[in-house]
Point group: C2
DNA sequence: TTTTTTATTGCAATCGTTTGCGTCAACGTT
DNA sequence: AACGTTGACGCAAACGATTGCAATAAAAAA
């Protein structure tokens, strides 16, 4: 049924030359007469010849494909990262095979396996929330597979990491809230095992310290799931139970922040007059809600692009992984919108 | 640097048998002694042997990989579709290679090319807004490549399409608005060349007709881009210029609908009291904004899953493409939220 | 003991492409 | 006339796995 693709052999047979000659003619190797080159190229075009990438991969032991492992595509930030990855990979002649772990460790493992089977040239990884041990990655690194981690990066030796400056982003966000006159600031924190969560919390703490505000551990609450529902419930219970009601929320992520906003409104609190809110990630909806949500923007596209460039540089040996000691940290940008501004500028 | 993967030959050499024996032993073929099988499997495990999928692909002229071509990952709906695709492909032992066209025709073309080079087993396509001519797809179909189109489907013979019932979704949404007492309903339409846009518009028209409401062509406005900014601008200019202000908006997509909501609010109109609004796609933010946005939910995950199942069935010849005459149409669900309810239930 | 059967394994080709090396004829040089 | 050059091309192996067809030895049957 399926029409067979023309191969080099087909061209060779038709022209009564050997496959070697065809191969060389197509690549303009020296030592092939112009006449032959002409005929070969002509026939190749006519037959719509397309090199078989699989055969090439086998021959070269390289697939020109990189594997991307991420938690979820539906996550806005990750989808922008994917765009960045795609863009660079594409322009440098690589394919991207993608798998989501859905935050499951076993998915992560088996994704790695099938990618290895497919002779992937390198990995781009943001690990799952379930992943607390990094042996499976260390092993790959030891075997010499190029891996670049992004956003969610492990703390293992030799790992090459691309991340955003979560600490600074959080620090800026909280500092902004403080200068707007908020002082009892809740932090809706992320899962403790993610370094990004730790860093954001550290930024929160340091900002408070910096302004001489005592840290109240009751105001730091973990939101393990990271949905707006969860944020809403947690905020409601905080508002109900805390002796002294908080006057601001810094969300580890935008969903949690929106949840907080909804819960505050439901409790009759005005945003930003009574309560200031800042999120993290700058999802598209931030500017679509009312009041619009201030948020720390992460350069997702850029992160994907940078990570991919590093990976490909390593793959193509333009760069020695041993020499890439430091992690690449990208700047965040605090986008101040209405939800956190109560002073006239 | 990179540690070589163990191959069948390695096992064969070490055990002083031929590669054929190893191959057969690994697959439990009859005619290999239990003793040999044991030794082979043992060594395979020890060497962490993993079959080389590339070599297999070359041999079998199949890659166990399907190519997915979509406009944008950042689009919520498409990201849910991807999840559905991934889920099914993964469970049936296929890989997914993904490319976004960013709504560009030339990207679409070159994606197809590289996928063909990579001996993809089949295509899953939602074409770009720029695509107005489907020859490149017809050619593939003629050559016998399995293709399943989803969401944005072309009208070409033999094409296998999976889509949602855009007509019914729109019909339901507009009917709902009418029964809520809105009558001058604007339709923020999509690009005319997309069938989904045409269908949604048709649903809009038929719902009005069905309730005996005359169609005012001035109330049908195309939103080619589909961002909230665009929706906002268009709505503002409608509110400024129409003699008779409209009392409802049915957005071809949620972004446009949110834009309309923002513009209405800015013009001092109350939602839903003065203006009713319904969107399409049910992005996550629909329930996070105020008032929450009614929207027609599309079964994205399900669509991805179904499309992939059909594709794989065709690839594996479980199904004859000639026999799949009709397009598969999935039901939508109107989620009524606050933005369109002004009657007490 | 000779022949037939059965169990176990190996050979070699194949998938499409690349590439080091060899071949062979035509030409130029002395 | 004998030799070296050079231009144009083919041979064959390799990448890793599969598989139809032998092949070999041991066991069973005659």
């Amino acid at each position: 049924m399926k029409i067979e693709q023309a191969t080099i052999k087909d061209i060779a047979r038709e022209l009564n030359v050997s496959s070697s000659t065809v191969s060389r003619a197509l690549k303009d190797y020296p030592g092939i007469s112009d006449e032959t080159k002409r005929k070969v190229k002509e026939l190749a075009k006519k037959l719509n010849y397309r090199p078989n990438a699989i055969a090439l991969s086998l021959r070269k032991s390289r697939s020109f494909t990189i594997g991307v492992i991420i938690p979820e595509v539906v996550h806005f930030f990750f989808s922008t990262v994917i765009s960045g990855i795609e863009e660079v990979a594409y322009s440098r002649g690589y394919n991207v095979i993608l798998t989501q772990t859905n935050e499951k460790l076993d998915r992560e493992q088996s994704s790695i396996d099938t990618m290895l089977s497919n002779q992937i040239d390198g990995f781009l990884v943001s690990y799952s929330k379930e992943t607390k041990d990094f042996n499976h990655f260390s092993r790959l690194l030891d075997q010499g597979y190029p891996i670049v981690f992004f956003d969610r990066v492990p703390e293992i030796p030799n790992a090459i990491n691309v991340m955003v400056d979560d600490y600074q982003g959080a620090f800026d966000a909280v500092s902004h809230l403080i200068t707007q006159g908020y002082s009892r600031i809740v932090h809706l924190a992320g899962p403790k095992n993610l370094k990004i969560s730790q860093e954001r919390e550290r930024g929160y703490r340091d900002a408070l310290k910096n302004y001489g505000i005592a840290i109240d551990e009751d105001l730091i609450v973990e939101c393990p799931i990271g949905t707006s529902d969860e944020g809403q419930k947690i905020t409601k219970s905080l508002l109900d139970n805390l002796k002294q009601t908080p006057d601001a929320f810094f969300g580890n992520n935008d969903m949690a922040a929106v949840g907080a906003m909804l819960a505050c409104k439901a409790a009759g609190l005005r945003v930003p007059e009574d309560v200031g809110i800042v999120g993290f990630s700058n999802w598209q909806f931030c500017s679509m809600i009312e009041p619009s949500l201030s948020s720390v923007a992460q350069p997702g596209f850029n992160m994907g692009a940078k990570a991919t460039e590093m990976l490909l540089d390593i793959i193509e040996k333009k760069v020695n992984p041993e020499e890439v000691k430091e992690a690449l940290t990208l700047e965040t940008e605090l986008l101040v919108r209405k939800s956190s501004v109560r002073l006239k500028g």
